[in-house]
């Protein structure tokens, strides 16, 4: 639940390897499979070997799970492995590691850090979480208060983080902490890799209005982090965090959807299967949402075509904004459509899901969970600010927080 800062400056690319085409990459997978029978090897061993063969994420550098190849080849590799019945690394379960930690470590880590962390990250042996948001720093992430104080070769960290997905299963956390409160807020931050098994780390479930606890609060009390687990220079935390957050936004942008993919499909199905619920007024409402959902789908598709053609557009923030609005309106209408059935819920007991299951539960759950879509990963208000400022180039509001020492800011 954080603001998304401006995109990072492009980092010098890792040395490109020799040109590789789809046929070549398929050949490499075949060669690998010839030497590594997925049916015979333990999944973890198989994945480690795949990483070492450069077939994990082919656009990563050689030696770090990749072939320095084009990112566009990755689906070819994945499809080839899937066709062979090979185990995957359960990408949705380790989404934060793959989507946010890996690009950040790749871009800002030392060689030692990249060697140490990327392999078990990719294989799923080590799960990652993000320790950014705080109770007092949500949209205004750069105002965060968790302190990191140097002590010998360590940093001693104290503070509270919230909205931390999967922290209860994670080994490592991407931690943003304040190392100099006398500087303006963006300048006094440093980025660390925090061992969640270290003394002083306490993870507590954070329950949502759905009854579930998808997230956690993480209390850090005198946690010692060795300086070698600092990512980027002291005071450069905000720049490093940009990489993490940009990749969060891309991750939320999501994959291709068929027509009626997403919640509109659930609504349409109910409409078709339960004619007794239909009224002329609700018919119009269903059609209006269908139109908007289809427009949003085509817009996401257009964005994907542009990205694939190397023409990134600014529609990413817009896609998330629209996704939240539609999910909320569709699930709200669904409850009205099902009427009396909508008065019930399936289960209020505290649960700890790793993934959100919109389709598998009741209309009431969808309605409630969708409320989070406009808060998590950047509120809709912050996304509108981003579009207004960066896409439309509208003048800034008067700012009162960027030039003064962090410690003097009202809060």
């Amino acid at each position: 639940m954080v603001a998304i800062p401006p995109p990072p400056p492009p980092r010098p690319a890792d040395r490109p390897g020799p040109p590789i085409d789809p046929a070549r990459v398929r050949q490499l997978v075949e060669q690998f499979l010839a030497g590594h029978d997925p049916a015979a090897l333990a999944p973890r061993e198989f994945l480690r070997a795949r990483f070492d063969a450069g077939l994990a994420w082919v656009h990563y550098p050689v030696g770090l799970g990749g072939l320095a190849a084009s990112r566009a080849l990755q689906p070819v590799v994945d499809a080839s492995f899937a066709a062979a019945g090979a185990p995957d690394n359960e990408p949705r379960r380790i989404g934060i590691g793959l989507g946010m930690a890996a690009p950040t470590i790749r871009a800002h880590g030392t060689d030692e850090q990249r060697r140490r962390f990327l392999r078990p990250l990719w294989t799923g042996e080590e799960i990652w979480c993000q320790l950014f948001s705080e109770p007092g720093a949500g949209s205004d992430l750069a105002a965060l208060a968790t302190r990191a104080v140097p002590d010998g070769d360590d940093w001693v960290v104290t503070g509270q983080k919230v909205w931390t997905s999967i922290a209860h299963q994670a080994r490592w956390g991407l931690l943003l902490a304040r190392t100099d409160p006398d500087l303006p807020k963006h300048q006094g931050l440093t980025y660390f890799i925090c061992d969640l098994t270290a003394p002083g780390v306490e993870v507590r479930p954070l329950r949502q209005l759905t009854g579930e606890a998808e997230f956690n609060e993480v209390f850090l009390t005198g946690v010692r982090i060795p300086d070698r687990h600092r990512l980027g220079a002291v005071g450069q935390g905000w720049q490093v965090a940009r990489t993490t957050l940009m990749n969060e936004r891309v991750a939320i942008g999501g994959g291709a959807q068929p027509r009626e993919g997403g919640l509109i499909g659930v609504l349409a199905q109910t409409w078709r299967e339960r004619p007794e619920l239909r009224t002329t007024g609700l018919h119009d409402a269903v059609l209006r949402l269908w139109v908007r959902a289809e427009a949003a789908r085509l817009t996401a598709e257009r964005l994907r075509q542009q990205l694939a053609a190397g023409e990134p557009g600014p529609e990413g923030s817009a896609a998330k904004l629209t996704f939240a609005q539609l999910n909320q309106e569709i699930s709200s209408l669904e409850l009205e459509l099902v009427g009396a059935d909508g008065l019930q819920y399936d289960d209020w007991r505290l649960r700890r899901p790793v993934l959100v299951d919109f389709a598998g539960r009741t209309p009431g759950y969808r309605y409630l969970r969708a409320k989070g879509n406009s808060i998590e990963g950047g509120t809709s208000e912050i996304l509108r600010n981003i579009i207004a400022d960066r896409v439309l180039g509208l003048p800034s509001e008067p700012r009162v927080d960027t030039d003064r020492p962090w410690k003097d800011l009202p809060r």
Binding site: Q208, L209, A340, Q344
Partner: protein, 362 residues
């Protein structure tokens, strides 16, 4: 035109109820009760119904009631909505009371007025006022058999008012043959249950058209006055949000100083001011038996229910992360508002009713 203001006595009544509720049942305590699995607060209900005599507000004085009528009950409901209070006021002091007034049942009205009994109409909470639907309970003599799904405020009621094809019956809720099966409800604060009757003995309150009229009176009163409860829900949501954004700082400013939020909250305030007029009109029409009552009631539900939902949704959103948590009571209001938008029929249903009533045919 009905009087759309609040009279002095109504304002006093509001103050008394609000004070009691904030002392005995703040939202945090309601949340704690919900977590315990049974939100119903018998002590609170006793205070309201028996000690303060508010269950009898709409009961005629000759039966020991306040004789004050629906406008005052509506004020109580505003406060109950504002406190998201888990008591069966709407079901017993409004719906059942209206049913019993229609059949002029001295004994039950006297009990209700005294707070000695709580009653519930055995109809699904989602039932809109309008042409009667086929009853799902049949009477064999005075013994009733059948089921009614999703009934509000019946779980702790003493007496059930049961419509059948053979007239309207009263059935003591603890009679053998009466089963009450609690549902897991979206709204944690208004318990629903399925009723099953297996040759449960009762007594007839009315037959034929009088029975249908009584049920219609109950549903109309419920729909009309639910709007006031929704108004209270909306008011709490706006007030709480305004207070939060005044004191929550981001970017070294109170977030309530950001113009986009200010405009949204201004729009919400406008909606709520309108909901207030609409809800007062419905209560006023009901109180005076105004021929405009059906229009006023349908309007109240078509307008006020969405306003409460909108207010609760903005409350969650503008609280940011904290509004999405279980520990903040905002979700109790969201769930109450959204369920209330189905209770006594959806806004869509009430717009369809209006189409007929005001000659705007499809």
């Amino acid at each position: 035109m009905t009087d759309l203001r609040y009279g002095e006595l109504e304002q006093e009544l509001r103050g008394t109820v609000r004070e009691m509720l904030s002392a005995q049942s703040p939202p945090e305590q309601v949340l704690a009760r919900c977590e315990g699995g049974d939100p119903y607060d018998p002590k609170l209900w006793r205070t309201l119904a028996a000690e303060m005599g508010l269950a009898g507000l709409a009961v005629p004085e000759r039966y020991g009631g306040g004789g004050a009528g629906w406008r005052e009950a509506a004020v109580v409901l505003e406060e109950l909505g504002r406190a998201v209070a888990p008591v069966p006021y709407l079901g017993s002091a409004v719906v059942a009371t209206a049913v019993l007034r229609a059949v002029d049942d001295r004994a039950l009205l006297t009990d209700l007025a005294a707070g000695a009994a709580t009653a519930a109409l055995a109809a699904p909470f989602a039932t809109a006022p309008g042409p009667p639907t086929d009853p799902t309970v049949r009477a064999a003599g005075d013994n009733l058999t059948g089921t009614v799904r999703g009934v509000a405020d019946a779980l702790h009621a003493d007496v059930l008012l049961v419509p059948t094809g053979d007239g309207l019956f009263a059935v003591p809720a603890d009679t053998p043959g009466v089963g009450r099966h609690p549902l897991v409800t979206l709204d944690l604060t208004r318990p629903l249950c399925d009723l099953s009757l297996a040759a449960a003995p009762g007594w007839r309150l009315a037959a034929g058209p009088e029975s249908a009229r009584a049920v219609a009176a109950g549903l109309t009163a419920g729909a009309a006055l639910l709007a006031s409860e929704q108004l209270g829900v909306a008011e709490w949501c706006l007030d709480t949000t305004v207070e939060y954004v005044r004191t929550r700082y981001q970017f070294a400013r109170p977030v309530g100083s950001f113009q986009a939020l200010k405009h949204r909250l201004a729009d919400l305030w406008v909606e709520i001011a309108q909901a207030r007029a609409v809800a007062r009109h419905a209560a006023g029409c009901l109180a005076t038996g105004d021929p405009d009552t059906p229009v006023a009631t349908a309007l109240a539900q078509a307008f006020c229910a969405p306003v409460a939902v909108h207010a609760a949704e903005e409350c969650v959103q503008l609280h940011g992360g904290i509004g999405f948590t279980w520990e903040h009571p905002a979700h109790l209001y969201l769930k109450r508002a959204k369920s209330g938008a189905i209770g006594f029929g959806t806004a869509d249903r009430h717009r369809a009713t209006l189409a007929t009533l005001v000659d705007l045919p499809g």
